[in-house]
Amino acid sequence: MSVISARGIVKEYPYGGDSVRALRGVDLEVGPGELVAVVGPSGCGKSSLLNVLAGIDPPTEGRVELLGRDLGALGEGERSRLRLREVGFIFQRFHLLSVLTAAENVEFPMAEAGVPKGERRARARELLEYVGLGHRVGHRPPHLSGGEQQRVAIARALANRPKLVFADEPTGELDRRTGDEIIALFERLNADGTTLVIVTHDTSVAGRTRRVVEMADGVVVRDGRAGG
């Protein structure tokens, strides 16, 4: 069974009195355990595709199945719960809650999912150790470097043991070396069984994934192994 199954996805955004077509009929299948990079120039529709696949934006046309659920048949609340419990998100700008500590940021989605306090504390510590920040659990985001903040964001994305993680330009705000460390972390995560879809314009990221989906002008122009 596919983790993601998208058929004939069209996405239009209203613009003035007119509309802009960001996706023009995208088909995509992502299987369990895959590590997929979606690449392409700025404005080609990568982030729009991620938003549609994750149920953040509804498609104008087409059908998306996420983890076997037809997103078109789900209400906003159900899509939200699906993202909370079964999908992880990592964003370019981390967007951690600056008033919470690293551990509290990781605990946040678990609290929303109803995980008991003791369990979420232990799991937050475990996840922060997994991303190499076991010594920074009590630090707040303003006191962490960009790379450390992105690691906290990764730990937060993994909080509810998601089957699938979406990352939107996860190395966009990081220097080369830190970006490489984050990609290494993704590789380890994928090796541990998590499916990852990474939207990036960073060719070095794409070079380290097993599958690259290349987009241009709202359509997939190539879908295959990196360098293939």
């Binding site: 982030s47 938003n51 929303e112």
Partner: protein
């Protein structure tokens, strides 16, 4: 929720400044609430202080509103006393008498003729009620003229305008010093047996009004109606009617209080909405991210509303003592206007009304927080994420 409250104090000085503004607005609203009914309520307490629930006056005249008098006072008092439910009748005749020192008269004092067995105007602090040839003086007069029980005071009934000399001067022995309930601050007043005042001003068997006390369990309104039927040539006012009249005359105070109170509420709403809107705007990315990772919109909205509630609650906590302090200061200023009884107060602390006013501030805070919160959680999520990434 806790993270929202922490976010509120992330910009500490901005939040504290907003809190100061909300506190001042809450204090103003509190004062206007206390002012709106304060004088009427306080006057009501004063009217009932000596237990006389009714005032009987010349037809169509409010108590001490003119020099008009009730004639044939002794017979009228007997007819009133005969009405079932009347427990006591206290006559009062107002006049001006002139304290005399040597050959010259000083500023006139307010003199009241009363029945020492039952009167409604003062409480004796030292000494006793006046007998024939005796007088009770107000505390300020006793203090300023160095009078005490046993002292002698000369009072003239009038002035000879051409000679500038007092006329009808009589000497009275001070029998007591009293707290006059309806006097303004520092006023010199005296009370004498009714007959002494009637003789002094030539108004035999006349009174300005009667105070009537009702027997226990008797409804003052019904008693007023019964007296009105038995003695149709007078007007009978219950305390409630007098308060309604007072309230009507003071309606400008209520209008002012309503306008200023509304302004205070509007300022509170604007301050809360502004500070929350700025905070939500600053955390636009955070909020969009929270929605993207699956945090329920209701939870996020609740957090934002909690910020508005917290601001309003803290503003009320600041506003309450500030409002009470301002009320004391304003009361002192307003009561310094001449002619106002010093025993009344413009600002009455009614816990129910104050709680209601503060609850309104808190509700306004919640609504004001709700508006930017709804804007943040209702904006299309994909668009919010795109805007944040740009």
């Amino acid at each position: 929720m806790a993270s929202s409250l922490r976010a509120l104090f992330r910009r500490r000085s901005r939040t504290l400044l907003a809190l100061a503004g909300i506190g001042i607005s809450a204090a103003l609203l509190l004062d206007m609430t206390m002012l709106a009914s304060g004088l009427t309520e306080s006057f009501g307490e004063l009217l009932g202080a000596k237990g006389y629930a009714l005032r009987v006056t010349p037809k169509g005249i409010l108590p001490f509103d003119s020099d008009a008098t009730i004639r044939d006072a002794a017979a009228t008092a007997r007819r009133i006393a005969s009405v079932p439910g009347v427990a006591g009748v206290a006559p009062a005749l107002g006049a001006q008498l002139y304290p005399v020192t040597g050959d010259s008269a000083r500023e006139p004092v307010f003199a009241t003729g009363i029945d020492p067995r039952g009167q409604m105007l003062y409480r004796v602090l030292r000494g006793r009620e006046p007998g024939p040839g005796e007088v009770v003086v107000s505390e300020p007069m006793a203090r300023d003229d160095r009078l005490r029980p046993g002292s002698v005071v000369s009072l003239a009934s009038g002035l000879d305008v051409s000679l500038g000399r007092p006329r009808g001067t009589r000497r009275y022995v001070v029998s007591g010093v009293a707290e006059f309930l309806y006097d303004y601050a520092g006023e010199h007043s005296v009370a004498l047996p009714l007959g002494e005042v009637q003789r002094a001003i030539g108004r035999d068997n006349q009174v300005s009004l009667f105070g009537v006390s009702a027997a226990e369990g008797v409804d003052p309104g019904a008693l007023a109606a019964r007296i009105g039927r038995v003695v149709p040539e007078v007007s009978v006012y219950s305390t409630a009617e007098l308060l309604r009249e007072t309230s009507r005359r003071l309606s400008y105070f209520r209008q002012m209080a309503t306008i200023l109170g509304s302004v205070a509420l509007t300022v509170t709403a604007l301050l809360v909405a502004t500070i929350i809107t700025i905070g939500v705007r600053e955390r636009f990315g955070e909020i969009a991210t929270l929605r993207a990772i699956g945090i329920a919109r209701e939870r996020i909205l609740l957090g934002v509303v909690a910020e508005g509630l917290t601001l309003a609650l803290l503003g009320c906590a600041l506003g309450l003592p500030l409002g009470l302090w301002m009320a004391r200061r304003l009361d002192r200023i307003l009561l310094s206007f001449p002619g106002l009884p010093s025993k009344v107060t413009f600002f009455t602390f009614d816990p129910g009304r104050v709680a209601f006013a503060l609850a309104v501030v808190v509700a306004v805070g919640a609504v004001a927080g709700c508006v930017p919160g709804l804007g943040a959680v209702r904006s299309p999520l994909g668009q919010a994420l795109r805007e944040e990434a740009e």
